[in-house]
Each structure stands twice: as structure tokens, then as C-alpha cells.
Symmetry: D2
Subunit: 142 residues, 4 copies
């Protein structure tokens, strides 16, 4: 019997000029946009079209906690690779884990925790099956 492989994706992002600041490196807030794009692509690659799903279900997955460790600066025009996987996924919340690289250099590590809330009322929901399935991969049979 083999261990079940959790899905991992690589999302590529080209650093824009406006993503930098006057220290001539990528501003720390720009990474959150990259992580968000990587997350949406991760879910799509694993069967969940987030936009369609959010609209249909009238729930969303807002960020409730995040941490980033910046290890080395990214620069304008760098082609970044955002490796993305799920560290933990329960009925209460989902924690995405990211590693940002430029070539072989690790530029940043991050975790972003999401909860599930109603879009109209802001009330906390249990994380639905279809989200957990996208997070854990098909082999887990949620």
C-alpha cells in the first residue's frame, strides 16, 4: 500500500513593474496577490472553479490568518514559481502552504488559512465536501 499523494501545483507569475517599491525589490504586499492567484489555480486544477462555485453556493473562503517569511527579494520581471499545497483541511478551515521560488532560490514561504462564510450574512459554515475534495485530491474520497 502506498501513501496517498496530496496535490501540489506550480503557478508561474511574472513580476510587474508596479509590484516593486523604491527599494527596487517586490513590495511585501504584492506577494499576497501572487498567493491568491496560485490558490485559485490550485483549486481549478483540482476540480473546483472557485468563481462559479462562490456564485452558486453564496459562500466564500475568506482569509482568516496568514503568515509570510520573506527570505530573499524578488525583482521586476522575475518569473516566480509558487508551489502550492494544502497543509490541513478540516470542516472548520483550510490551510494552504506556499513556497515561492525564482529558479532554485527560495524567496518566501507562506501559509494562508481560509474559513467558509456565507457571502450575504458573514456566518461561518462548515467547509463543504467539494472544497475538501479539491484540497485533498480525488484519492481521499471525502
Amino acid at each position: 500500500m502506498t501513501a496517498v499523494e496530496r496535490p501540489r501545483t506550480i503557478h508561474r507569475v511574472r513580476v510587474g513593474y508596479g509590484d516593486t517599491d523604491q527599494a527596487r525589490v517586490v513590495h511585501h504586499a504584492s506577494y499576497l496577490r501572487y498567493l491568491e492567484q496560485a490558490r485559485v489555480e490550485f483549486l481549478r486544477d483540482n476540480g473546483l472553479e472557485y468563481g462559479t462555485w462562490e456564485k452558486k453556493e453564496k459562500v466564500g473562503l475568506p482569509v482568516v490568518e496568514l503568515s509570510v517569511r520573506y527570505r530573499a527579494p524578488a525583482r521586476f520581471d522575475d518569473l516566480l514559481e509558487i508551489e502550492t499545497w494544502v497543509g490541513k483541511a478540516t470542516r472548520a478551515s483550510i490551510t494552504f502552504v506556499y513556497r515561492v521560488r525564482c529558479g532554485i532560490r527560495v524567496l518566501a514561504d507562506a501559509t494562508v488559512r481560509l474559513a467558509c462564510v456565507g457571502l450575504e450574512d458573514g456566518v461561518l459554515h462548515r467547509v463543504p465536501d467539494e472544497v475538501l475534495r479539491a484540497c485533498w485530491g480525488p484519492a481521499h474520497g471525502v
Copy 2:
């Protein structure tokens, strides 16, 4: 008989570090955020709380056209003054005019045209009286 004075406001903005880019000046897109803040404050100063109004009326005032002429660069920590007035306001659209200064230096001129649309359906509406009143000032008696 004297000419009726149209309202003008001055909105002050402190340039943030993340507003700059690697050319060590304020990135051109950052100005749009300053103009938007100035517009919201102009409307508030002239009797229209935009957020409350939008929520109540279920219509919004999206930007349909804008132009900016950048004359001199703004820099981190500059204290900018955004002079704001209405160039034209009809039932079809409203054109805000802006002059951005730092001290006596003019950094940018801009115009932003807004239309009125339903937030649910995106359908074009006539610009309501209460918006025109805020744009033209009380003396115009719309």
C-alpha cells in the same frame, strides 16, 4: 448678481512606501486610488455619503472614462493635496476634475467621468438628484 460658486475640496494624502516603484517615484496607478479617495470625500463634504447611498439605492457610480496627465513625480512620504471639483454633471454622467499638488508644484491633472448603473443588473440609470446636488452645490437647487 454674483456667479454661483461650485464646490471645491482639498483632500490630503500621504504617499505610502508601497505606492512607489523601483524608479523611486509614485507608480502611476497609485494616483487613481488618491483620486477615488478625494472623490468620496468631496461627495461627503457636499452632503452625499457615498457608501450609505450606494447601499440604500442599489446603484453605483462606476468610472467610465478617465485621463491623467502626469507632470512631475510624487515621492514617498510626500503630502499631496488633491483639489477636486465637478467639471460637468448631467443626467447621463458626471465629470470630476482634479489637480494634484505637492506644496506649490502641480504633479498631475486628471478627469474622471462616472455613470450611474444598477448594482445588480448593470443597467444604466439617470444620475439622481441627490448626486447632482452634491456635485453642483446647494445654490443650484436641482
Copy 3:
């Protein structure tokens, strides 16, 4: 004799969640980031690596004027196509022209004029040959 074809490029952008605003459409300022990415890719496709060039020459191409006409809203997760070409390129400035589409719908038209300035001193320079060549395409033989 045939007319010389000016270069045109199509840059694809996926709309991020953070690019939207509470009207549930893409915020008007987000487009400036898309246009900037499209411009950098246009120059790369036509032989100018902007980042490398800026660093080597110590001059930049800041935006001195822009105008955008927003025709229809873009939404989260839309895959936009930014068609990009040069409307005018002289020793004094370069004007890029853009058409933003989602499928066959035109969402926005824009023009962005750039000048050439020294990065250290902010002094206006003549637009260099290698930039004009990238703008006009190889057939023009600047």
C-alpha cells in the same frame, strides 16, 4: 510595394479576486496593471527586455499621460486579452494603444504615453533607437 506591418501583441491576463471591488466588477485601477504587463511583454516580443535595458542605460520610460475608456465590466476569473500596439513613436514620446477584450466583447480601450527620463536625475532624454525599433518593428529600420 506593401504597407509595413506594425507589431501587435496579445497579452492574456486572468482577473484575480483582489482585482475586484464591492460592485463585483474589476476595479478601474486594476486595468493599469494589466496594461503595464502587456506593454512589457510587447517590448520583449519585439526585442527589448525592458528590465535589463533600464538597468543598463539608467533611463526609464515613465507614463506621462494616459486615458482609459471603460466600455463593459470585467469580472473575477475572466481571461482577458490585451491587444497592444504603438500608435505613435517619436524622439519625444511613445504612445501605446490597447484594446481589452473578454472573448469577443470589448471591455476597454486605452492609450498610454511614455517619455524617456534619466533614472537618477529625472531629466528628459530623447527616446533611444533601440526603443523605437521595438515599437515600430524591424521593417522600419530606425
Copy 4:
């Protein structure tokens, strides 16, 4: 003998329209801009003009680590209060702590750790006295 009071500041921020996303709340990345503004004002209030200092010393204080806990959503036009203080300040790094409130509601807690690096070479420096003095307040006599 009394405990020495560490400086605390309150920075007020008005939420802009473009700071929101289609879930009709402030996008999580927008908070980083608010925290950065609050940090610059904290340093100014405690005697360090960050922009002037960075330019003169040719060193900067980039973010090397951050974490945010989002407790309740902020909305368009909310007037936020960012309480800011220094949790830890050593020769190696400085940790700012933030509490974001709207009225009496706590919306977010955050910590941001900064290091001191050369702007030209990116080399790590010891945190200078004048920065530590601004962090700890005058009573500490660094």
C-alpha cells in the same frame, strides 16, 4: 520606580472603495498597506523620519516576516484605528505589533518583523541606534 512606558500610536485610515473585493469586505492584502502607513507614522511620532533616514543612511527596513489574524471584516468607508507598538527590538530585527479596530470592534491583529539591510547591496546591517530609540522611546536611553 515605575515601569517605562513604551510608545504606542493610533493611526486612522479611511477604507477606500478600491480596497474592497467582490465579497464586499476589505481585501486581506489591503491591510498590509494600512499597517505600513501606521508604522511610518509611529516612527515619525517617535523622532524618525523614515524617508529622510533611508535616503541619508542608504539602508532600509524591509519586512522579513509577517502574520495577520483577521477577526472581523472591515468595509468600505470604515474609519479604522491602527494601534501600533514595538513588541521586540534588537540589533538583529524589530517586531511591530498592531491591533486594527473599527470603533470598539477588533478587526485584526498583526505582527511585522523588519530587518535592516543596505539598499545598494542587500547586505544585512545591525539595527542602528536611532531606529532603536524611535522603537523604544526616549526613556530607554539606547
